[in-house]
Symmetry: C2
Subunit: 196 residues, 2 copies
């Protein structure tokens, strides 16, 4: 990244800036200056600002491919759910900007939502839904469950913990040291509920 590969330098700078202030909140002037590159390089490599944004989006959402690995894993629904939660939390750690693109595209979709974001999220969610369905078929999970809502509930639990960070960091410790505790805790709530 430091070896004067301007294309990569632009992508990494754009990933941070677009995440922090959105597509319309960053000018290519500022972006190219921050990357230490001439402004014209953006058109040269990406055919303009939007092209750069779509490249960033593509790269950020590529990590969802790992969901296929969970799907193919030779293990039961409970193990797969735990692996999903663990991977999901780790994903937020490894791609600290992904959540911004994720929520920003879901609430203010750009033209790339339908080509990049929706297909990726649909595929991931369908894998989750299938895991829940398998658990119900095997009588491991309750029969009354709606697989779709249940999958959303699980994904929501984990994602919201990170989404809320800025509003809760003063009274909830969000450091990675707590991640294992969080996994245990969310597995517990999700599988057994909160009743004693």
């Amino acid at each position: 990244m430091d070896k004067k590969n301007y294309r990569e330098k632009l992508i990494s700078t754009a990933t941070r800036l677009f995440a922090e202030r959105g597509l319309n909140g960053v000018s290519i002037r500022e972006l190219s200056t921050a990357a230490g590159v001439s402004i014209s390089m953006i058109s040269y490599y990406f055919e303009g600002k939007e092209g750069l944004y779509s490249s960033v989006l593509q790269e950020q959402f590529s990590c969802f491919e790992y969901m296929a690995t969970i799907k193919e894993r030779d293990s039961g629904p409970m193990d797969k759910i735990e692996e999903y939660i663990r991977w999901s939390i780790q994903r937020h750690r490894d791609y600290p900007f992904l959540l911004r693109y994720y929520t920003s595209e879901l609430t203010n979709p750009t033209r790339y939502f339908s080509s990049i974001v929706r297909p990726t999220l649909e595929k991931a969610l369908h894998i989750l839904i299938d895991i829940i369905k398998t658990g119900i078929d095997e009588k491991l999970f309750r029969g009354g469950l709606n697989p779709e809502d249940t999958a959303l509930a699980m994904a929501g639990m984990v994602n919201y913990y990170f989404l809320s960070t800025l509003a809760t960091e003063e009274f909830i410790n969000h450091s990675p040291e707590r991640d294992e505790e969080l996994i245990r805790h969310y597995m517990d709530i999700f599988t057994r509920g909160i009743l004693s």
Copy 2:
């Protein structure tokens, strides 16, 4: 709103447009045209675009005051949790743009985040956390629960259902007719878990 009250007309138009495309995605030119008002009215009433945005934000987040009502209610933790979930879902129905401001401010905070958004969400979350704590004290909920994470899990379940709409509407029915089913279902998952 139609009685030539331009101030209100600007707020309602801005609420929709800022929600759809963000603060930086809408120009005051377009906004004032859509509102059928001269562009100079924005400075006149709100001292500029950002002032208009902050008025919209203030109005959107004012509905969280209802959380105080839940807090004061003379009922047990379980009833309060159900009331929270019911109110939360209804809030998404009544304020369809709120979620956009909510997530946009959490991931790309404007200068109004710390004065308007964070205090509001902090207060609401602390009420939820206290409800969970009461339930634990009364031995109604499990002793091992972390009240903070548990409150976030509950809020996350509900909010994510609406956040995911754009990516899931083709295979999950998000119509209000399902809301009661959703409340029952999320209460079930949250209190009893998914195990049979």
